[in-house]
């Protein structure tokens, strides 16, 4: 006997989870817009009108959805409801986030505004703005805020601030956060979400002070810490961090990019004592080693290939770029398209690897790469010694066989998306380098790539079809592929799915 699920609208989807999550997300977006509207009024830059209406609508929808959720509860939620709710919430956030760009006139085409907004929320940092400085303060702040809200996770934020709505909070929490992070810190997910956002806010405040101390004005400092700790990469300058030409600012940026690339659960565990920290350490160690080794290798190759550059400048450029790329931030101080092809390819590799699981960064995540390496070595060994019981272990931490399967299938799917995406982009009509690098930069939520989307370029050269497609890749990359992909399977929509 198959009981008909309550609350459905003729499909198997549980709208009673989806509506409050999407509505709550819109409410959070509305709060962000309200901040920008206030900024516009204070700065008197005339962009306030563009924010007034969307703020009101988003907040109203948010309040309505959360209020309706309060009445409807005690319905079993399943994992699939979480996937749908989170994906729709991100899509809704991107749509809502695009409205101020359109109303203000930053973009004329809806696709451009949507791309900019999606690039913001997913913390990709790819932009279509030719001259960033031309935009009013409110629009610049809005770009930064989208990244900041997307950094730790906008649904996590909703869970943190509106936990008492009867949502299946753990379903949506796990659909948004990295499956590799083992992030649950407290018995109640809502408390975990609060902790993560608390740490995030603390870093943001500390980073604001640091940027200001390094010589940025308050508005630049605020925008840059919002996009740095989120490892997003939007800047208030067209030339990105290079516009400041300040070693101090670059160092502060590096520090907070690195911090943003570390598992946020690790900070909480560090506060609780060294013992609970231990399972997280192998990934952290590998992450630091990756950054140091990549910086050293790129520095050497720059010095060797370019006699004009001094060792000091080479180190400065490569350290900043390695950290910016690995953490999927995408800030620029040097045009790595002018580097030798070795340096460029190292950057592409780093884009794929990414930073730690449970951070604000993108990419496949260091822990997955470590596990993949181990799994591959063990698979080779298994050919020789078939009866050996193999344990997936990184630095003393044992991973289950489910994790092994998960990591291997994640990698296959990731590579398939990359390969297929490249072909799609080429079909849309961009050149090979651009097609490859734009897909890498979007799927790994980096921002800048090579070719027409290179470090000193923007995405205006991509046709509108390509922008839609890359937006979808960003969302898939941010939600670590599975959450989005399951929605595309027929099984997901079949009513008899248990």
């Amino acid at each position: 006997m198959r009981a008909r699920r309550p609350g459905g609208l003729g499909t198997s989807v549980n709208w009673q989870l989806v509506v409050p999550v999407v509505g709550g997300t819109l409410g959070a977006v509305g709060l962000g817009m309200a901040v920008c509207a206030l900024t516009a009024v204070v700065a008197g830059d005339g962009a306030g009108v563009a924010f007034a209406a969307p703020t009101a609508v988003a907040l109203a929808l948010g309040v309505f959805a959360l209020a309706s959720a309060r009445r409807l509860r005690s319905i079993p939620f399943r994992a699939r409801d979480g996937f749908l709710a989170v994906t729709l919430a991100w899509f809704a956030a991107a749509v809502a986030g695009a409205v101020p760009f359109l109303l203000h006139g930053s973009f004329e085409r809806p696709v451009d505004a949507f791309f900019e907004s999606m690039s913001g929320f997913t913390t990709t940092g790819a932009t279509l703005l030719g001259r960033v400085e031309a935009e009013p303060h409110a629009i610049l702040l809005w770009r930064s805020l989208t990244q900041w809200m997307g950094g730790v996770g906008i649904v996590v934020l909703v869970v943190a601030i509106a936990p008492a709505t009867g949502m299946a909070t753990n379903r949506v929490f796990y659909a948004e956060t990295s499956g590799m992070a083992a992030q649950r810190l407290t018995p109640r997910i809502a408390d975990t979400a609060k902790i993560l956002w608390g740490i995030y806010v603390a870093f943001t405040v500390a980073g604001f002070v640091a940027f200001a101390a390094a010589g940025m004005g308050p508005f630049d400092a605020a925008n840059h810490i919002l996009t740095t700790i989120a490892t997003g990469g939007f800047s208030t300058r067209t030339a990105s961090i290079a516009a400041f030409d300040s070693l101090a600012i670059e160092l502060v940026t590096i520090v907070f990019m690195v911090l943003g690339g570390i598992n946020f659960a690790l900070y909480w565990r560090a506060l609780r004592g060294a013992d609970s920290l231990r399972p997280q350490l192998p990934e952290l160690r590998a992450y630091v080693v990756l950054l140091v080794v990549a910086t050293a290798v790129v520095t050497l190759s720059l010095v060797a290939s370019d006699t004009a550059i001094g060792a000091g400048d080479a180190l400065r450029d490569s350290a900043f770029t390695v950290v910016s790329i690995t953490t999927s931030t995408g800030f620029i101080t040097a045009d790595f398209e002018e580097w030798n092809s070795f340096g460029q390819l190292v950057m592409l590799m780093l884009m794929f690897i990414g930073a730690c699981a449970g951070s604000t960064a993108g990419g496949m995540k260091v822990i997955r790469v470590l596990l993949l390496g181990k799994a591959a070595a063990q698979e080779i060994e298994r050919q020789v010694r078939p009866t050996t019981v193999q344990v997936l272990r990184v630095g003393g931490r044992v991973f289950s066989e489910d994790v092994r399967k998960g990591v291997v299938s994640f990698f296959s799917i990731y590579m398939l998306i990359f390969a297929a995406g490249t072909v799609v982009m080429a079909a849309i009509g961009v050149d090979g380098t651009t097609a490859v690098s734009s897909v890498i930069a979007s799927l790994n939520i980096i921002g800048p790539g090579l070719g027409e989307v290179g470090a000193t370029e923007n995405y205006t050269a991509i046709p509108s079809g390509g922008l839609w497609f890359l937006s979808a890749l960003m969302l898939a990359g941010r939600l670590e592929v599975f959450t989005v992909l399951v929605l595309l399977t027929p099984a997901f929509w079949r009513r008899s799915v248990a």
Binding site: T387, T388, V389, V391, R393, V398
Partner: protein, 446 residues
């Protein structure tokens, strides 16, 4: 001494029999009425049917006046509860057998200081320790340490490689000060005499300072086992701690065979370097595939005595250097020698040894039971005892024992027989026939 033993399984019966033979008042409780009935006829002790973990039953049995309450049922929980209840009612000393390391793994001070259980025995863990000693010290199948670890007693089996085989004990060359004080031949322990001619298969008991024991045993045994591979058959409660201990040793490479997939994974996850293979492992070709022929040691410690004996026998025939088997049931021990297996270890015996050791208390500090029914124990000669001033040889004779070695002022003395006993000497003595009564009257305070 009044003793209450809870649980009339192998261990309980063994302890009850031994203590009863030493003229202690023993009460033994078990829930199984049939078992109780059978035991009534064979044991000179009060045998009671009932739940020994129940405070009421314990009180009725007079636990308040008991010197020892000893929980040795099949259930860890019942043993712990019995010991707690015994302690609460007023028993002087409580002992619990605990097999699951989750309870007090590595931290007995919790059991002792918080719960008030005086002594926790971990049979499997203790057996694993013994096995590890036998492997780490090549040539010895057992090594025990006395006198705060200064004196080592090793049990070594003479193989055809040994230079001692066919010679009289009196005419052997000595590399380092050592004393062969006992022999186990054909399953019987005897005090070694200079005129004994050593044979292949004899277990030789030798005492030496700890820093010399490796060399001494190596000399007795002839060629040392070579190779670094140790194969552990069975990843159970003995195999896993044993493997964990061994994998921490330099130059040892552990391979664990386990036939249960879940247990194999469980073990693999807990071994940092050791290699776990999912194999039945009793068949010769499987053993061979994992290099048994080149192994330095093969340890059969699966749950089944028959499988252990079979696997160890195969391994020996295939050429493994040292083959050890865990044999729980006493009736199988005669098979050990017949199958050519180098030594057998019994968790039951280890448990009884540990508990009896704790029972004797007083001036007996440490004890080691041998499979042949003999024991090695450590006593302190109290100042003013009857043995003081006598020669070691004479003192030993009085107590029907033999002094194997002693520690005086922190120095190890391997006696030739003419040294004189002083008060405060810590002596390691060997009893060919179990029974400790004379030791107390000879070396104890008078």
């Amino acid at each position: 001494m009044r003793v209450i033993v809870i649980g009339a399984g192998d261990v309980g019966r063994h302890i009850a029999t031994t203590l009863s033979a030493e003229r202690h008042d023993v009460t033994i409780v078990d829930q199984d009425a049939e078992r109780v009935e059978a035991l009534r006829n064979e044991l000179d002790a009060l045998v009671v049917a009932g739940n020994g973990a129940s405070p009421k039953v314990l009180a009725d049995l007079g636990a308040a006046e008991a010197d020892l309450v000893c929980g040795v049922t099949q259930s860890d929980e019942a043993n712990i509860i019995a010991a707690l209840a015994g302690h609460q009612i007023g028993a002087k000393r409580t002992v619990a057998r605990v097999r699951d390391a989750d309870y007090f793994g590595g931290d007995e001070s919790y059991a002792t200081h918080v719960l008030g259980i005086d002594f926790v025995v971990h049979p499997e863990r203790a057996t694993a320790e013994d096995l590890a000693e036998a492997i780490i010290l090549p040539g010895a199948v057992h090594a025990e340490h006395f006198g705060d670890g200064r004196i080592s007693i090793a049990e070594s089996i003479l193989t055809s490689r040994s230079p001692l085989v066919g010679r009289q004990l009196g005419e052997r060359r000595m590399v380092r000060p050592n004393f062969i004080f006992g022999l186990i031949r054909d399953g019987r322990a005897v005090a070694a005499e200079p005129f004994h001619v050593l044979k292949r298969g004899d277990h030789v008991l030798v005492a030496a300072a700890r820093e010399h024991i490796g060399e001494v045993v190596g000399h007795l045994a002839g060629r040392m086992p070579t190779g670094r591979d140790v194969i552990v058959f069975g990843a159970g409660r003995i195999g896993l701690p044993l493997s964990r201990r061994l994998e921490g040793q330099d130059g040892v490479r552990v391979t664990v065979m386990e036939s249960n997939p879940d247990r194999a994974r469980f073990a693999a996850e807990r071994l940092a370097r050791g290699n776990v293979v999912l194999e039945e492992g009793v068949e010769k070709d499987v053993l061979l595939a994992h290099g048994v022929d080149r192994a330095r040691a093969f340890v059969a410690c699966a749950g089944d005595d028959r499988a252990n004996l079979l696997a160890a026998m195969h391994a020996k025939q295939l050429g493994a250097d040292l083959c050890l088997a865990v044999v729980s049931r006493e009736e199988f021990t005669p098979l050990v020698d017949a199958l050519g297996i180098d030594a057998a270890f019994s968790p039951r015996l280890v448990t009884a040894e540990a508990i009896l050791r704790s029972v004797r208390g007083g001036n007996v500090r440490a004890m080691y039971l041998l499979l042949g029914g003999a024991e090695v124990l450590e006593v302190q000669a109290e100042p003013g005892c009857r043995a003081e001033g006598r020669t070691v040889k004479d003192a030993g004779k009085r107590a029907h024992t033999r002094v194997a070695a002693l520690v005086r002022d922190g120095k190890v003395i391997i006696p030739h027989g003419e040294e004189r006993v002083q008060g405060g000497d810590r002596m390691v003595i060997f009893n060919a026939i179990r029974g400790v009564a004379d030791v107390g009257s000879t070396f104890g305070a008078s």
